[in-house]
Subunit: 252 residues, 2 copies
Amino acid sequence: MISVILLGTGNLANHLIDAFLQTKNVNLVQVYGRNAAALAKFKKTVDTTSNLAHLKEADIYIIAISDDAIAEFSEQLLVRDKLVVHTSGSVSIDAIKTSNRGVFYPLQTFTKDKPINFTAIPICIETKQKEDFNQLQQLASLLSNNVYTIDSNQRKYIHLAAVFTNNFVNYMYKIGNDICDENNIPFEILHPLILESATKIKNNKPVSIQTGPAVRNDKKTISNHLKLLKDDEKEIYNLLTQSIQNTYGKKL
Amino acid sequence: MISVILLGTGNLANHLIDAFLQTKNVNLVQVYGRNAAALAKFKKTVDTTSNLAHLKEADIYIIAISDDAIAEFSEQLLVRDKLVVHTSGSVSIDAIKTSNRGVFYPLQTFTKDKPINFTAIPICIETKQKEDFNQLQQLASLLSNNVYTIDSNQRKYIHLAAVFTNNFVNYMYKIGNDICDENNIPFEILHPLILESATKIKNNKPVSIQTGPAVRNDKKTISNHLKLLKDDEKEIYNLLTQSIQNTYGKKL
């Protein structure tokens, strides 16, 4: 049995509280939150406090608050000789100042009120002290089947890769949706294709399955497409086409 | 019962032949292919020919050959007073010269030897003559639950939207994969997040769920990310960040 105290009442904190309450061999001892109103909904199922001086004892203290607040908040924590971890993708392990520090980063987007199954979510863990590692790994493994040891430098690059594979990808969806809307095409018509592209990379390296006019060096289609696009879309089309052609050794 | 003759032996032709042979109320009368070797595998199950003069009679003739060859090929076809359709996303209906012409465009990527279930694949149909429309719609509905009436102009824009939502998206995956490889991070760690992004847009407009440092106007993270990127990746990161910020009224 691992005992845990969760610090935070935001989106991720909510999902973690639900998950811990449902997970065998995890004892969620207490939830801390600055905001009494946000705490209220947990009072029935778990001990809560808004006062850091009233924190109980636990094996692991999990900070699930906004990235910018982690460093300052961890200095106010009076916890010593216990493992304190944060849950951020983009903050270094050293934002926490005590020696028993670590990171417990679930790699997924969390939507409010949409229940999530942690089993398939990758959890990236890191600790400063070797003796803390086993404990954090044990906790992560109770929640997820996909636990990865990822140091702070790698985590930085995961976050960067996620900007491309998720934030920028969503923006490509947005442009596609705009093009459909402007031409009275239901965007849903592209969903099966979009899902196939996202699924295909499970068994194929993206570089080996690139398709489209750029990699085919189909100049006629590229020039037709450019005529149909608005200025800002055109600039993106041009740059990505050039970059694809550089990658695959084609010439415009 | 609708009778069909398929012209072509490529990737899409193969998938369509399989689908037609398995679909009730469709009679695949004949398969035409220039290449006798490519035809050989169908000989056991369907009549085949390499000679256009030997084409049989059918309700619908489906041209499934490369885009560039459609116009010239359709002129060699001696079929009159029967519906002739092509299967291309980017070729106008008018590439076919006979008056009973149309388009039967399945909107999906087809991988060789990977069986595909047509039921969920959107099929975009268009005809020149009203009387042909019902017949083509009937055929499409026998294969798929998602049949759309899409004219040649809309089809052009669907193809363009697919370049953004699939070709460029795959290139974003490729950059994410490169970043992972260079930092000894297994790319699979991003799969659940990628799949969630692709699934989310079924119930949300992409513009309403954009996340990431650009839309948050998180200058510190943006500047950190730019330091980690190589020149060509940096240029893409910069342009997409700017475009996102223009869209959402933020300033760099």
